[in-house]
């Protein structure tokens, strides 16, 4: 009884938030799943339970295949690019450099801006005109004597999504840099010194001392970039609208709901997006909560 008096007030204070999360996160996810399992293919009908039919039938649609392929290409280029660039920037600044505060501020500022605002300027920069009609980045490449690098950017039918990842890399690599910089600085100097005294080269110190200690930071960055990537929507709408050439599941879902007026289809796509994030976020969350408990 006394023990309960100890924790009951806390639970009461937290209960509005528990209720909100239960309803708006888990309740809504469940409700969405329920809509996805009906044949509500217009906005008036009640919808009958059809099981997983929509989940299977979605794969018959060419546009779904395209949007999944696009999401894969975008994710690989965006996550890989932001990790590499962010790591490189942190690596260059790691041991302290004049004007570090200014460098950090400049690399980080794109994060403070919305994807919609940056999409406007990138749409312009990545104009598809080449040769005589080159503008934007293509004109810049031409001016730098790199005209052979001109291409159609996000309008390229095969690798357009790689171009679409460029603004996302621009926006997020500063964040990765900040994460890695904190990671680098968390490596105790004594560890490095000890290895150097033992005659290890700088490269070996880096490879065997620093890199293993950066693993948790890398994992965090991977998870954060990955879940941003799989639900990307704003950036693509701002750069290219809702065209098939740059379709991803989130845009396809938007089209299904607002253009095709098909809630069941939209809910099915949404459920697939949630699933793709869940499969790697849930193990990560369990791992990090356990790790914290071990450390405390």
């Amino acid at each position: 009884m006394t023990r309960m008096r100890r924790w009951l007030p806390g639970l009461l204070l937290l209960s509005p938030s528990i209720a909100a999360i239960a309803i708006f996160v888990y309740g809504m996810l469940g409700w969405n799943l329920q809509v996805a399992m009906t044949d509500r293919h217009d906005e008036i009908s009640e919808g009958r339970f059809v099981g997983l039919t929509n989940f299977v039938q979605l794969w018959d649609q060419p546009r779904w295949h395209i949007s999944v392929e696009h999401a894969v290409v975008f994710t690989l280029v965006f996550v890989g690019g932001a990790l590499l660039l962010g790591w490189l920037l942190a690596f260059l600044m790691e041991r302290g450099i004049r004007g570090e505060g200014t460098f950090r501020a400049i690399y980080l500022f794109p994060m403070a801006i919305s994807f919609v605002a940056t999409g406007i300027v990138w749409r312009w920069l990545m104009n598809a005109g080449t040769g005589e009609r080159a503008v934007g980045l293509n004109a810049l490449l031409d001016g730098l004597g790199l005209g052979f690098l001109q291409w159609q950017w996000f309008r390229d039918p095969d690798w357009g999504m790689a171009a679409m990842a460029i603004p996302a890399v621009w926006q997020m690599s500063g964040y990765v840099m900040a994460l890695f910089l904190a990671g680098f600085r968390g490596v105790p100097d004594e560890l490095r010194e000890a290895a150097r005294v033992d005659g290890a080269s700088e490269w070996k110190v880096y490879r065997h001392i620093v890199l293993p200690l950066l693993r948790p930071v890398t994992l965090s960055a991977l998870i954060i970039l990955g879940h941003i990537s799989l639900k990307v929507f704003d950036l693509i709408v701002a750069v290219a609208g809702t065209q098939v050439v740059t379709d991803v599941p989130a845009v396809f879902m938007w089209v299904a709901v607002f253009d095709s007026h098909d809630p069941a289809k939209g809910a099915t796509i949404a459920a697939y997006i949630v699933l793709s994030v869940t499969v790697f976020v849930v193990p990560y969350l369990i791992w990090s909560v356990r790790r914290e408990r071990r450390e405390s």
Partner: protein, 277 residues
């Protein structure tokens, strides 16, 4: 001079040069935005993107302001209350989850955290239905409610991680003095919460200001925030480039100002987003 000493002298120069090169790359879009926004209509075409304006004019800024003003106002009405309510909720949740833990608190916390990562597409269709049923669909209160609710996980996380660093003995001491949970919060926890409040308010303000997904799904034309209005302005074929660029800058000024003035706190919010990274 030994090889090590020579390398130590050469490398900083190389690193510095590389960092400067990246700064230039990072600032390319900013140059285009600024330069184009000051151009008159005759110069605002993609062919002249890299030139500075020959005639400088504020005309595009004036028109962009007129078009964007209602959205900017809505964004303020969304982001300011939204951020404040989120911070208040997060502070109480973080306090409970760090200092007044109950059986199963870890499970509840983990379930909260998952809410941080869910793609909001997964809740959007039912959310629209629920809000229509409750008759709050389309307006600002509904949108603020959504932002506050889906902001609970990150705000709780930041406050919890901050409060964990307050020694338990302080709470115990005030408890021995007969203070209950809320009094201990007011007298011990709240006075030292300033930095955590700054982090959360900035984080939420930035995310609410920059949000597009919730806004397009949940609001009607009267309540469109700056991001949605900006996307519509820029999407219209008839809008001159100079106005698009000026509007994009206008919509970004508030978060940029917050970032410049309070960047330190912004950084801490980012770090918290990476859990215990």
């Amino acid at each position: 001079m030994t090889a090590v000493a020579r390398r130590a002298r050469v490398l900083p120069g190389v690193r510095f040069a590389l960092l400067i090169a990246f700064v230039l790359v990072f600032l390319v879009p900013v140059y285009v935005l600024l330069a184009t926004s000051f151009k008159p209509l005759t110069e605002a075409d993609p062919g002249q993107a890299w030139n500075l304006p020959r005639t400088w004019t504020f005309e595009a800024w004036r028109v962009a302001w007129e078009k964007l003003a209602p959205g900017l106002l809505n964004s303020v009405l969304i982001a300011v209350p939204g951020a404040l309510i989120s911070a208040a909720l997060g502070s109480m949740n973080g306090y409970v989850l760090s200092k007044w833990r109950f059986p199963g608190a870890d499970v509840v916390f983990t379930l909260f955290l998952f809410g941080m990562f869910i793609p909001y597409q997964g809740v959007m269709i039912p959310l629209v239905q629920l809000m229509t049923t409750l008759d709050i669909y389309g307006g600002l209160p509904g949108l603020i409610l959504a932002h506050v609710v889906y902001g609970i996980p990150i705000c709780t996380l930041i406050f919890r991680n901050y409060y964990v660093t307050i020694p338990d003995e302080l709470i115990e001491a005030s408890r021995v003095d007969g203070a209950g949970m809320l009094r201990a919060y007011r007298s011990v926890v709240l006075p030292v919460s300033g930095p955590a409040f700054a982090v959360v308010v900035i984080w939420q303000f930035t995310s609410l200001w920059n949000d597009f997904l919730f806004a397009v799904f949940l609001t009607g034309p009267q309540s469109w925030p700056a991001t949605v209005l900006l996307n519509n302005i820029a999407g219209a074929q008839a809008t001159p480039y100079s106005q698009q660029m000026a509007a994009a800058i206008l919509a970004s000024i508030p978060t940029m100002v917050v970032y410049v003035l309070l960047g330190r706190f912004f950084m801490r919010g980012l770090m918290a987003g990476a859990l215990k990274g």
